[in-house]
């Protein structure tokens, strides 16, 4: 039980409350006791004073009665009346003893002492306690008083001697002695003492409650009774009571602590169970429910915990499903597929087995989507997923995104056949029937990769190869991937190639077939890569096109080419430079203005620049290309169609294009001979077609004398190729032209 637990705090609180209450009780009992003691003691002392007075009064009355009886004795009266003083004195002594008087005095009716039993100390003098005497004499009766005699407190009583009229008075004195005090003490349960001097020391004893009671005296002297009550004695019952209360408090406290511990357990035990349950939920363990068999709020809470637990479990399962599955087809997604692939590879590693995957991409899916609508596309994807699932009922089928699917396989045997079988039947959706063709890429462990990510990438590469080759299926070719990697790093390097001046222009002559004069110089860019060496355009231009950097390269090439042309011209070398434009360059509306600016800047006539555009580039967006070409033509530049014969252009198109030149694709020229009838027919008809449309015709890829001769025979205007010269750096090109001869 930690100090901050519920149980501990409940305990502390209870103990604190009880301790305060019990301390309060004890304190109030104690003070009430003190007050009661004080009141009791005060009462006792007050009663004591009355008892004391009463006892003295009773004693005085008794003594007076005794004395009266005594003096009414006939013989005594006789003695008093007639005897001599000595006899009288002895009679006083004798009779005084009978009633225990300490002093007996005979007083005449005038208040003078006739004789006494204290050796005649008062004889012949007035009785010293005159007030008392007068009291008695006034009534001819008795009187009594407390007086001080010989330094001691005494009670004196005085009675007349009647014969039957008073003939004298007898006074008797009785010391107020221990017996009297004992009487008072017995009745009042007080300590009693009597003082004729102030009872200083004793009255201030702190162990006693004291009361000084001044007695009424008959002679004006001070006589004090000191009444005292032992406080310890008075407190005894209260002390006992306090002890009992204290003991009771302790018992109650202990009982309360036990009760609190028990109660706290009934609360904290379930709370611990609930906390453990909450902890399990927090850790994502949903199997074990919280078991709390009680009907109270905590039991309800446990029920709520359990329903929360199952709700969270269900929701988490749903989230997990959504995170690992494709929402459209319900198939596992890329992430889950990679996980399972990894698991399959791990299993294969253990069993020294194999694992692999087929990656599949639906051919022309974008076209289908565009033509028949996204909804149709989605339905198609679902159907493809369904067929794959049917084909591989025990396998993992995943949709990786878009129109890409993947199948987890053990080995590559008969996979292709099964997939092909799955799509043998056209997919019929509504009233549309469609043939699904797919490109498959296969990669397996351990041949192609030993981790899921690499395996997926290589299957991807294989699939692209299949697509490119239109072979339908391709297994990953080791080493293929290296190229991809190189391609990737080139993409990055290309960004900096221009800044680092790693690009260089080479020039290849275009020669007039009839005069063998160099008319044009085609500018070709080379990349002096620091790591890969000199790279040809077909190695990096497609990359530049993909990464959107082709515009920069084109502009660089045009600027350099114009500058070089202007330089040759100034050197007396009158040539036309030819520059290749990419399909993407045609979409840059700024380009014509840019080129015009450069030409006028260099002072070069625009017809000295020939722009070569591939037939396929023009065919991508024929209408727009036509517009751009017209603009360029209007500015005076010459235009050529590159790679003619590969781009399915129609004659109608061709007719509308403002071009000056046709360049026959080198695939028709490379093997051109008089025997190669196909190429010969194409080249011949192309030349005829160009001439008929008033265009200059040039053949590239001329690498043999035979080709040269055939072209000359066919009336081709110009030729370009290794037969004449490879592309040369600017200075070498100039030398070559100035030498003025063919190889």
């Amino acid at each position: 039980m930690s100090a901050r637990s519920f149980q501990a705090r409940l305990l502390y609180l209870l103990i604190a409350v009880l301790a305060i209450a019990e301390t309060g009780t004890l304190v109030s009992v104690h003070y009430a006791g003190q007050r009661a003691i004080k009141r009791t003691v005060d009462d006792e002392l007050s009663v004591g004073t009355r008892v004391f007075d009463r006892v003295l009064e009773m004693r005085a009355r008794t003594l007076a009665d005794q004395l009266r009886v005594l003096v009414s004795d006939f013989a005594f009266r006789d003695t008093i009346a007639i005897a001599d003083l000595k006899t009288i004195t002895s009679a006083l002594e004798n009779h005084g003893k009978r009633i225990g008087a300490d002093v007996v005095v005979l007083i005449d009716l005038d208040g003078n002492v006739k004789t006494d039993t204290v050796r005649g100390r008062w004889q012949g003098k007035p009785f010293p306690f005159a007030t008392m005497f007068r009291q008695a004499d006034d009534r001819a009766g008795d009187a009594s008083a407390t007086v001080t005699f010989a330094g001691q407190p005494y009670q004196f009583v005085i009675v007349p001697v009647l014969a039957p009229r008073p003939i004298a008075y007898i006074a008797a004195g009785f010391a107020i002695d221990e017996r009297v005090l004992a009487d008072v003490a017995r009745v009042s349960s007080l300590d009693v003492s009597i003082w004729t001097s102030p009872p200083r020391g004793r009255a201030t004893n702190p162990d006693f409650a004291s009361l000084v009671h001044p007695l009424r005296t008959g002679d004006g002297s001070r006589v004090n009774a000191l009444l005292q009550r032992s406080l310890a004695e008075a407190r005894k019952p209260f002390t006992l009571l306090e002890q009992q209360i204290f003991a009771l408090s302790a018992i109650v406290l202990i009982a309360a602590v036990f009760a609190a511990v028990l109660f706290a357990r009934t609360v904290s035990r379930p709370l611990q169970v609930l906390a453990a349950g909450a902890g399990r939920i927090g850790r994502g363990e949903y199997e074990q429910p919280v078991v709390l068999k009680q009907e109270d709020e905590l039991g309800q809470l446990a029920g709520a915990f359990n329903s929360m637990q199952s709700a969270i479990a269900a929701r988490e399962e749903q989230i997990m499903f959504q995170a690992t599955h494709d929402s459209l087809t319900g198939l596992p997604n890329r992430k889950l597929f990679l996980d399972r692939m990894a698991a399959a590879i791990a299993a294969a590693k253990r069993t020294r087995g194999t694992a692999g995957m087929v990656m599949m991409d639906v051919d022309r899916f974008k076209e289908i989507n565009d033509t028949l609508g996204h909804q149709f596309g989605d339905q198609l994807l679902i159907e493809i997923g369904r067929r794959l699932t049917q084909t591989f009922p025990n396998g993992t089928i995943a949709r990786l995104g878009g129109d890409e699917f993947a199948v987890l396989i053990d080995h590559e045997r008969d996979v292709t056949e099964r997939v092909e079988a799955a799509f043998e039947q056209p997919v019929v959706l509504g009233d549309v029937s469609i043939d699904v063709n797919a490109s498959l890429g296969i990669a397996t462990y351990p041949e192609h990769a030993d981790d899921a990510g690499t395996l997926l990438r290589r299957a991807d590469v294989a699939m692209y190869d299949a697509k490119r080759n239109q072979s339908g299926v391709a297994v990953y070719d080791l080493g293929r991937d290296e190229h991809s990697v190189r391609r990737l790093s080139l993409m990055t390097d290309l960004r900096q190639a221009i800044a680092r001046d790693e690009l260089e222009l080479y020039f290849q002559p275009k020669v007039d077939v009839r005069t063998e004069q160099v008319l044009h110089a085609e500018a070709l860019v080379r990349w002096n890569h620091t790591a890969h060496g000199v790279m040809r355009p077909d190695e990096f231009i497609p990359l530049a096109e993909q990464s959107g950097r082709i515009g920069l390269i084109t502009k660089w090439v045009i600027r350099k080419a114009i500058a070089q042309c202007a330089a040759w011209r100034a050197d007396g070398l009158d040539l036309t430079v030819a520059v290749n434009l990419s399909a993407l360059d045609l979409f840059d509306s700024e380009l014509p203005t840019f080129i015009s600016g450069l030409l006028s800047e260099a002072g070069l006539p625009p017809e000295k620049l020939l722009l070569e555009i591939t037939e396929s580039a023009i065919m991508k967006d024929a209408a727009y290309a036509q517009k751009v070409l017209r603009d360029l033509k209007r500015r005076g530049m010459c235009l050529a169609i590159d790679d003619f014969g590969t781009g399915y252009s129609s004659l109608a198109h061709l007719k509308r294009l403002p071009v000056d030149e046709l360049k026959i694709d080198k695939s028709f020229v490379l093997n051109l001979s008089e025997k190669a009838s196909d190429d010969l027919v194409i080249v011949r008809s192309t030349i005829e077609l160009g001439h008929n449309m008033g265009l200059t015709v040039i053949a590239e890829g001329v690498e043999s004398a035979e080709a040269w001769r055939v072209l000359k025979d066919l009336g081709c205007d110009m030729a370009q190729g290794y037969f004449m010269s490879a592309p040369l750096p600017a200075s070498k090109f100039r030398d070559w032209v100035l030498r003025g001869r063919l190889r």
């Binding site: 009414s72 006789d78 008093i80 009346a81 007639i82 009647l162 014969a163 039957p164 009229r165 003939i167």
Partner: protein
Amino acid sequence: MVRFLLALIVATPLLGATLTVRVSDARGRAVSDAVVYALPEGRQLPLEKKTAMMDQKNRMFIPHVLAVQTGTSVNFPNNDDVRHHVYSFSPAKTFQLPLYKGTPANPEVFDRAGVVTLGCNIHDQMSAFIVVVDTPYFAKTVNGAAELADVDAGRYTVHVWYPDMRTEPRPRSIAVTAGERVSLTFVAGRPNVRP
């Protein structure tokens, strides 16, 4: 007229003077049972063998105050059905008659002047006084007045005594002539005033 009236009084056939004495206490109340007596100055009057009686009835002495001339014999007849023990410790006559019934054989002779206080030893409430005077001229007041008749001419000292007086009024000396009527007033506790 006044003279004639005086003549009438004086001319009454009396041998001696008449003393009328009034006694009142300090508060002016008339005192009864006060003994008034006149003692002749400078001469001795002859004793006479007189008798008197102090009766006891209903546990009381009757009379309460008895004035007698010196030498008078007083009888103490007991008319109660209980015995009495009559005693006196007075210096003028100390005696006792132990428990008796009827009349004792011999009377007590009071031959000394003075006040004799009587009591009964067994009945404390009984008390009486016998005032023994050396003169035949004495009387007790009734409603505060007493008359001493037929007093021989001469000088007398007039005394007053009664039981509860605190101090005896100062005696008065007075001379009377035959047939004279004299009034005296005693006020207890106060100087006497001659009228």
